[in-house]
């Protein structure tokens, strides 16, 4: 029959595979089915078929199945007997995950509810333990397609495009960032790339890419005014990915003539030609095969080369050739070796340096002139969420997922004095308590002390020349500053200038000295595209 889910026994000797109305246990060494268990055997006159949507093999030999009848059942696979059955919900169970200690299970249902089941002692001091459905959670509006169980949190993702992390309060030692319920709608990744010179934007969707030319205006106006466009934004081309695979990463070159993307298995490079109104897209032939494909793509500032982040901490450098070709130039590897893939890249504007962040959170800096490893930024115990190299000073600005900001001077191989000042003084508490990490960093070429940062909810201009705010002052003081007289305003100024006008913010970049592009993705846009949620009666039985 159709296999809908499977799970390995922790020892690796058996696989359990869930199908419709039954599941099978397969011996790995012989490849034979050693047990076949009907899940709706005892349901009399079961007209509907019972789909085993999720299954898990526990180390004790118990098989936990979650089925479309809303049951979570515990089976002894060797005997083929049902140990326990819990009708958790009237809607189908779609996903199941078990904690590492195997004392807690989370299941997701088609109504968007998740339930926790716990293995609890029946009596205090007694040996007998029983699975008990304990906490229900309703964080999703649609199917919960995937669940995960970390030692301290329940994680669920659903069709409603939300990832929810619900911490288990009883496992929390102290209150902190981890002890708060988190909901994520957007990935903490760059989904939009911008060709500054050509004023093009590349949008990455799950199955296709869209290339847009930005509109422009010749007027200027005051704060808050909407300027009339002299040229309308233009949808240039839609590039559909072949096959079922999702697009993993994409990039457009600063000159706007190259577009590259990568799926889970393949890497593609295209040459874009804009002749007036007609746009032509041509696939670059003979792209070197990469195994595994790219985790991140980045063109150099002069659009001469392409950096491809790859597994084991390596970065491939391709040289782009006119009129449409490419050549593998070099592979940069960390000297000590690394098991994790590179997921963030930042080239310098002068084409001299490249910073690469791998999954073990180490930041390696390479010298591109001689393709040599330059140095390693001291490792911090948090993931890097964004980084960029300053075009004039070649300082690397790093944003971490715990909202820390660091500045590292690449030529001097040390933190800058401003960074040290920030560390010694500490950032504002309101800044540190923010929910979403910084996803993109860019600089103002006109004013080298300005750093532009953004996350999903705010856009910030960090002015290094101004004093840092302390906890007693207001972090978001732009509206109060406006009302103050000139003199008082000067006294109140601090380094963080925050704008919350655009939400949710997907992308922000400085096109030229007086032009900033901001990409917003209203949540309602895709909420309306979701299928109807399961209707549930609130009252009545």
């Amino acid at each position: 029959g159709r296999v809908l889910c499977l799970s390995w026994h922790p020892s690796g000797t058996h696989i359990v595979a869930g199908s419709i109305d039954f599941f099978r246990v397969i011996d790995v060494t012989s490849g034979q089915t050693v047990q076949r268990i009907m899940v709706n055997h005892h349901v009399e006159k079961a007209k509907r078929e019972c789909v085993v949507w999720a299954i898990t093999f526990l180390s004790s030999g118990t098989v936990v199945s979650a089925d479309s009848f809303g049951r979570v059942q515990f089976w002894d696979w060797e005997q083929g007997t049902l140990a326990e059955s819990h009708t958790v919900s009237t809607s189908a169970m779609l996903s199941l995950a078990v904690s590492e200690k195997e004392d807690s299970i989370i299941v997701g249902t088609s109504t968007g509810a998740t339930y926790q089941l716990q293995l609890l002692p029946v009596k205090q001091g007694g040996q007998e333990k029983r699975w008990v459905r304990t906490k229900p959670f309703q964080f999703h509006s649609h199917d919960v397609r995937a669940v995960a169980h970390s030692p301290t949190a329940l994680i669920s993702g659903g069709l409603d495009a939300q990832l929810v992390i619900r911490p288990l309060m009883e496992k929390m030692q102290k209150k902190g960032y981890d002890a708060v319920l988190r909901k994520f709608t957007f990935p903490h990744r760059r989904l939009v790339s911008c060709a500054r010179k050509a004023r093009l934007l590349l949008f990455q969707f799950s199955q296709y890419l869209e290339l847009w030319r930005l509109g422009s205006t010749e007027e200027t106006g005051k704060d808050g005014e909407v300027l009339s466009l002299c040229r309308m934004p233009e949808h240039l081309v839609q590039l559909k990915s072949k096959g079922p695979e999702h697009i993993y990463c994409s990039c457009v070159s600063p000159c706007g003539t190259w577009v590259g993307y990568s799926t889970a298995s393949r890497f593609h490079l295209y040459r874009v030609r804009c002749d007036g109104d007609s746009v032509s897209l041509r696939k670059v032939p003979k792209v070197p095969k990469l195994l595994p494909p790219a985790y991140q793509l980045q063109f150099s500032a002069d659009s001469d080369s392409l950096f491809v982040a790859s597994a084991r901490g390596s970065v491939h450098v391709f040289q782009l050739l006119e009129p449409g070709g490419c050549k593998h130039l070099h592979t940069l590897r960390p000297p000590s070796g690394c098991s994790e893939a590179v997921y963030l890249l930042a080239p310098s504007a002068d084409g001299h340096w490249l910073a690469a962040v791998s999954g073990d959170w180490a930041i390696h800096i390479y010298n591109l002139k001689c393709f040599k490893h330059h140095c390693v930024v001291p490792t911090y115990n948090c993931a890097v969420s964004a980084l960029a190299i300053h075009p004039s000073t070649n300082n690397l600005v790093i944003a971490y997922s715990d909202q820390q900001l660091l500045e590292f001077s690449i030529p001097e191989k040390q933190y800058t004095s401003w960074s040290r000042a920030v560390q010694s003084r500490g950032l504002h508490r309101a800044w540190l308590e923010r929910d979403s990490p910084i996803t993109h960093i860019t600089f103002n070429p006109k004013n080298p002390s300005h750093i532009l940062l953004h996350d999903t909810y705010l856009l910030c201009v960090l002015d290094k020349s101004l004093p840092l705010p302390d906890d007693s002052t207001l972090l978001m003081n732009q509206s109060t500053l406006k009302q103050l007289p000139e003199m008082a305003r000067k006294r109140q100024l601090h380094a963080f200038k925050i704008c919350k006008k655009f939400q949710p913010l997907l992308f922000m970049d400085l096109l030229d000295e007086n032009c900033l592009v901001v990409v917003e993705r209203p949540i309602m846009d895709f909420k309306t595209q979701l299928p109807l949620p399961v209707q549930q009666k609130k009252f009545g039985t």
Binding site: T87, V88, P121, V122, V132, R133, K135, E170, K171
Partner: protein, 834 residues
């Protein structure tokens, strides 16, 4: 015993059952008892026969907890606000021991694992509204009255209700809930764990605890909450890693919870009057028993799990089978939210009529303490939810010996109430009232009083209904022939006359005994109208103060009109002279004339005590005064005519002869006055039954033994007195037979001989052989006779001594003759020997 001459105040019904959970007796026999606290008493009720067997009184305060003695299931502990714990033998209804604790006891728990102590909730000394759970060591000592002063505090800061504490499996731990806090104390580990919920009322939730119950075999606590959720707590040994799951069906507060014997089922009940059964702690599998009538207050489970019972807010008890089927209900006086109708006597059944279930009229029999029937007046679905304005019955009156019934219902809104006047005709065929006329908005404002002109001599045509309203008018309603041939009924009611007086609000109305005069009080003035011409005859006024009650005198005193005013005056006007005859300073709350005599009862409320004054309007001096009738405020009174005039020895109490007064207090307890002592009042048969069932031998062996004893005492005289005494002996035996459930009776062949023996006349000096022969010979006949006697005995239960005797002699002549003949034959030889 009460000294002769003194009247006893007897509480005869309607006591609040809300004191404690009911308890099922734990005997293995199928015949079970249900014990419940009822006011100051504990009632023992037979589950199979639906009869109250015993009333165990002795506490001087409200009984707050009853629990079976875990070490002896034939004994019962009860606690009371009077500060004592009593140990009862509930089979015999005798108190075994009384332990005086000293402070108020608010709840009682008896746990098997605690050897010689029970747990009670007492108020904490020196702090108001703080309560603690203490264990009381019950000292073993001789004598009935013992001290229970060895207290040790188990938990502090507990709730005052018995529902807020529960003991876990095998008494290993105790749980207490209060507000949003839950505390668990483990006896063995001496560990106290506290958990609290969020106090925030988010999303309409309200996390306050309302009740708690423990799983009988597992470490699991079920708690009910104010927003209708039920939480099942587990793993509460850990302060941090405790967990709970939630069941939610109730829309309002969960009043009580109960686990089944094995703990696989959980019962919950609340204001919705639906009993919910949850299976396996799963929210997907649940069963319902809806339409239980009124909000559920307590749920209790029998020890074998075969029955459960729910105590309701209106003092009803429902017994439910294990398969969630309604089995029986015990209902006395139904407690309604507010008795607006007053206490009215149905002339037909002599039942007290008052508000029952919402929108219903209950007919309550004072003799049997049972509800006769409930009449749906409003005929609308009642939704049990706070804050809803619903129609309620406010006034009721009977006319023409109970053939007509008038009811007024109004919505609870203060301004612009929705009013309806309904007239019901008694249908002899269906034996119930049928709606005849419905008048929408009979008055523009609330109706304050209503009465029928009820005169036998004038025939049914003279039937007149008068209503008074706050819209400053009184209206006269008469029957008219229905001209419409299509109409199903021949008569209907319509308004005939509208009267008013100086635009004062009409407050009371009353017809004189002969129906010629109508008295209507308008605020401070009483107006008297001629009922034929509707002319205003005269007015009476006794300022200051508005008239609260008026009534005409009866019989010899029919020329008097009595009124009570707000400012504490009782006035009596002479209608012939149109002058005030006398007045007395008395704060009268209730003024109730006896319909069968000239006596009028007035109940006053002074310094937190109710006092009763009985007087004749012709004399300003009361003929009977009972001060301190009770501590509660008496709101209503009624005289229920007796079937037979009672024999009253004392001159002072002659006013009780024809009718019996009943009083309803603000706590909806019904009280009466009795000249008899407590022992006399209790029916001997029920008492005896309880005694005999507790014995291991069958009731018949007892019966037989007693009978033989009786025979030995009897002398040879075979005159009429002997026959009479025989009959008296037989009647309880017969009653016993009829009362004992069929499944516990021995075989008929065994019964037969006993039966016959009991009916035979003593044969002291006869030889055994002779007797045996004769018994066999006569057996058939005797049986026939006995049947006949049964019937008569039953019929004559209530008749007087004299009648009983007369009738019996002629009835029994046949068998009697035979016996006499036989014995005469024997006697000669016997006398000759001397």
């Amino acid at each position: 015993m009460v000294a002769p001459g003194a009247l006893r105040v007897v509480r005869c019904g309607g006591s609040a059952l809300g004191g404690a959970r009911a308890v099922f007796s734990a005997d293995s026999k199928q015949v079970g008892y249900l014990l419940f606290a009822s006011g100051d008493f504990v009632k023992v009720y037979s589950v199979s026969t639906e009869e109250t067997l015993l009333l165990m009184g002795g506490h001087a305060g409200l009984v707050t907890g009853i629990q079976l003695n875990p070490h002896n299931h034939m004994q019962l502990y009860s606690s009371s606000l009077d500060g004592t714990i009593k140990l009862w033998d509930f089979m015999d209804g005798i108190p075994i021991k009384t332990f005086t604790v000293g402070s108020k006891l608010l709840a009682l728990y008896a746990v098997a694992s605690a050897e010689d102590s029970v747990f009670v909730v007492i108020p904490k000394k020196g702090e108001r509204d703080t309560f603690q759970l203490v264990s009381v060591k019950l000292t073993k000592g001789a004598g009935q009255d013992l001290e229970g002063k060895e207290l040790s505090v188990v938990l502090d800061g507990v709730g005052a209700s018995m529902k807020h504490i529960a003991f876990g499996r095998e008494g290993a731990y105790v749980v207490s809930v209060k507000d949003v806090n839950l505390q668990v104390y483990f006896f063995k580990q001496k560990l106290l764990n506290r958990f609290s919920l969020n106090t925030m009322k988010t999303k309409g939730g309200d996390n306050r605890f309302s009740c708690v119950m423990c799983h009988p075999t597992e470490d699991c606590i079920a708690t009910g909450h104010a927003d209708g959720k039920i939480r099942l707590w587990r793993n509460f040994h850990h302060r941090k890693e405790y967990t709970y799951s939630t069941l939610h069906w109730h829309h309002d507060i969960v009043m009580d919870l109960a686990f089944s014997l094995e703990g696989t089922r959980l019962l919950s009940g609340g204001v919705e009057s639906v009993l919910v059964q949850w299976h396996n702690e799963s929210s997907c599998q649940k069963d319902f028993l809806p339409r239980l009538g009124s909000p559920i207050e307590y749920i209790s489970m029998s020890s074998d799990g075969s029955l459960c019972c729910t105590l309701h807010e209106d003092n009803r008890i429902t017994i439910i089978n294990s398969n969630l089927r309604f089995s029986r209900s015990i209902q006395g006086l139904i407690k309604s939210k507010d008795v607006k109708t007053g206490l009215v006597v149905d002339p037909r059944t002599k039942a007290l009529v008052l508000n029952g279930e919402p929108g219903h009229l209950q007919f309550y029999s004072t003799q049997t303490d049972q509800q006769l029937f409930s009449l749906d007046i409003v005929q609308r679905q009642h939704v049990h939810q706070a804050g809803l304005k619903q129609l309620d019955l406010v006034k009721v009156a009977f006319g023409a010996q109970g053939t007509w019934l008038a009811t007024v219902e109004e919505s609870e809104e203060v301004t612009d109430p929705e009013l309806q006047l309904k007239l019901w005709f008694y249908n002899e065929e269906t034996q119930s009232f049928k709606l005849n006329t419905r008048v929408n908005t009979p008055h523009d404002s609330h109706i304050t009083d209503m009465c029928f002109r009820d005169v036998d001599e004038l025939g049914e045509d003279s039937l007149i209904l008068v209503t008074t309203g706050r819209d400053c008018v009184f209206k006269v309603w008469v029957m008219v022939e229905d001209t419409d041939p299509e109409a199903q009924q021949s008569v209907s009611w319509s308004c005939d006359f509208v009267g008013s007086y100086h635009n004062y609000q009409a407050t009371n109305c009353c017809f004189s005994e002969d129906g010629s005069l109508l008295a209507v009080s308008f605020e401070g003035t009483v107006t008297v109208w001629d009922s034929l011409t509707w002319d205003l005859k005269c007015t009476f006024c006794h300022p200051p103060g508005n008239i609260r009650n008026i009534c005409f005198g009866r019989l010899t005193c029919s020329k008097y009109l009595v009124g009570a005013t707000d400012y504490g005056f009782l006035c009596c006007w002479n209608l012939l002279t149109c002058a005030l005859e006398w007045s007395a300073h008395l704060n009268v709350v209730v003024l109730q004339p006896d319909p069968l005599s000239e006596h009028i009862a007035a109940v006053s409320w002074l310094s937190k005590k109710s006092s009763l004054f009985v007087f004749k309007p012709s004399e300003p001096r009361p003929i009977y005064i009972q001060r301190n009738l009770c501590k509660e405020k008496i709101l209503l009174a009624a005289f229920v005519p007796r079937d037979e005039p009672e024999v009253i020895s004392s001159e002072k109490h002659l006013w009780l002869r024809k009718s019996q007064p009943f009083f309803l207090t603000d706590t909806q307890e019904l009280m009466t006055l009795s000249t008899k002592s407590l022992e006399e009042r209790l029916t001997p048969s029920s008492k005896q039954l309880a005694v005999e069932e507790s014995l291991p031998v069958t009731p018949f062996s007892v019966l037989l033994g007693k009978h033989r004893r009786q025979q030995a005492q009897e002398d040879t005289d075979l005159g009429k007195p002997l026959v009479h005494s025989k009959q008296e002996q037989a009647s309880p035996a017969v009653r016993e037979l009829l009362h004992t459930p069929a499944h516990v009776l021995p075989s008929a062949s065994f019964l037969c001989t006993i039966f016959i023996n009991s009916l035979l006349i003593s044969k002291e000096n006869k030889s055994a052989e002779e007797v045996a022969d004769e018994v066999e010979m006569e057996s058939e006949k005797a049986e026939d006779d006995s049947d006949e006697e049964d019937v008569t005995a039953m019929e004559q239960e209530d008749t007087s001594h004299m009648e009983f005797l007369g009738e019996m002699t002629c009835k029994l002549s046949k068998s009697q003759e035979k016996e006499l003949r036989k014995i005469r034959k024997m006697d000669y030889s016997w006398i000759a020997a001397f």
